[in-house]
């Protein structure tokens, strides 16, 4: 019963008596997969590193080794959450920024001043538009940052 949806007007009062047990037994869960359509037909991404002079170098966003984004559903989900979901994942953003700054410093021999992220997408077009010209996606880039690298 403790896992009944938390999005009702009942709020979370109903869940409180169970929360200690749920947390201790690691039984939290949410079944919101594909509650609406996926918004992208394709996705890629790059880190954008700025040095002190403002020079830009792009790197793959996956660690270790700053590899290109892997099109695995887990990784797609992770980057979409990093990019668009604030609740519950803010700590991951902080940890990701620190990790990529460290990795770029190791690769280039110099710590970047700032790092940003570019999410390259092909957004799904409406069914009516696809019917007209057979093009499924519309290219769109979402820039994030740049943010100063933590020292």
């Amino acid at each position: 019963m403790a896992n009944v949806s938390r999005t009702t007007a009942l709020g979370t009062t109903f869940h409180r008596p169970f929360e200690t047990y749920i947390d201790a037994a690691r039984l939290w869960q949410s079944w919101d997969m594909f509650t609406t359509i996926p918004h992208f037909h394709d996705m890629a991404g790059a880190l954008v590193a700025f040095d002190d002079q403002g020079n830009i170098t792009r790197y793959g966003p996956m660690l270790p080794d700053l590899r290109p984004l892997r099109k695995d559903p887990r990784i797609i989900g992770a980057f979409l959450r990093l990019a668009f979901v604030e609740d519950g994942y803010a700590a991951y953003n902080v940890r990701y920024l620190r990790a990529v700054c460290d990795a770029i410093a190791t690769r280039s021999g110099k710590r970047p001043a700032k790092v940003g992220f570019e999410l390259y997408t092909e957004e799904l077009r409406s069914i009516q538009d696809v019917q007209r010209d057979n093009r499924i996606g519309e290219r769109r880039t979402y820039p994030f940052g740049p943010i100063a690298c933590p020292r």
């Binding site: 201790a24 079944w31 996926p38 270790p64």
Partner: protein, 299 residues
């Protein structure tokens, strides 16, 4: 006084009903099938996760060292103990061995505990990359830790006349109900699901195995597939619960999930959820399966 007596009787009957519901004897083959199916599907999830293990859980990965002490219940989160490549590899290898051991029925509870610890740990450390099948691996892992461990269909042989209490299977049945009903509850208000367009859009998305603009022209078929998905999801737990409709539920559920595995990059979800259907099976269902197998065997 008669009113009090009848109230007491009603209370006793209610307690007996609850006891019967949770502790009635179950067919040990249901536990065995669930255990073997879970072990096989979770091993597939582990293999699927293997290429990402360093990215998600190692110090050299995307999120650096997994912080410890954030979660008071996280003492057993093994990825907070160390994030070295050797440790992450070792955790995965030990878990794979535990899954094989669980599937074979050796040290069932200890093996289930190792698997559950791994699943809880990776879900906590890599929550940002978690999917529904990871949740199933974690939650059902917990259920197997606390469930009876009958010696049925194990490499150590089968102990006759075992009738373990049914509570572990009941927990899995509730879990299946929760998964399907919650997802329909959340999907139903969405305009794409309401308009019958969700499946055509999904089939052109990044999660589709064969995205093609032809799916934009499915028309009424797209709507039928969308509404049929919702209908199957909302009715499935009840079809599985009722004896008369159980095989219909199995057929619809397995067909839907095999269909998803074929057209979407989501094979682990199919592998994770289908074995849970065994929790609904009773003696007569296993007998029917056994008789079907006997009939199809070459003479």
């Amino acid at each position: 006084m008669p009113a009090l007596t009848s109230l007491k009787d009603a209370g006793a009957r209610a307690v007996a009903a609850v006891e019967g519901w949770f502790f009635a004897p179950a067919d040990p083959r249901a536990y065995a099938a669930l255990r073997i199916g879970y072990a096989a599907s979770t091993l597939c999830i582990l293999v699927d996760l293997w290429p990402l293990r360093l990215s998600l859980f190692a110090n050299s990965g995307m999120f650096g060292k997994t912080p410890s002490g954030v979660d008071p219940y996280g003492l057993l989160d093994v990825f907070t103990w160390s994030g070295s490549t050797a440790w992450v590899n070792a955790v995965f290898v030990v878990t794979a061995l535990a899954l094989v051991s669980l599937g074979l029925g050796i040290f069932q509870r200890a093996s289930a505990l190792v698997v559950y610890t791994w699943a809880a740990s990776y879900c906590a450390a890599g929550a940002i990359a978690q999917s529904g099948f990871d949740t199933i691996a974690r939650v059902i892992g917990f259920v197997l830790v606390v469930s009876p461990t009958p010696r049925t269909w194990t490499v150590l042989g089968t102990r006759k006349d075992e009738a373990p209490p049914i509570y572990g299977l009941r927990l899995v049945q509730w879990q299946v109900l929760l998964i399907y009903v919650c997802t329909v509850w959340l999907k139903a208000p969405d305009p794409f699901w309401r308009r019958g367009e969700a499946i055509p859009y999904f089939m052109m998305s990044i999660f589709a195995r064969f995205p093609n603009p032809a799916f934009a022209r499915l028309g009424a078929l797209g709507a039928v597939l969308t509404y049929a998905t919702l209908l199957i999801e909302v009715t499935l737990p009840f079809l599985l619960w009722m004896r008369k409709t159980r095989w219909l539920g199995v057929f619809l559920g397995v067909s839907m999930h095999i269909g998803i595995a074929v057209v979407a990059k989501l094979i682990p979800f199919t592998l994770a959820i289908v074995p849970l259907y065994f929790a609904f099976f009773e003696r007569r269902d296993f007998d029917a399966l056994a008789s079907l197998v006997r009939r199809t065997e070459p003479r």
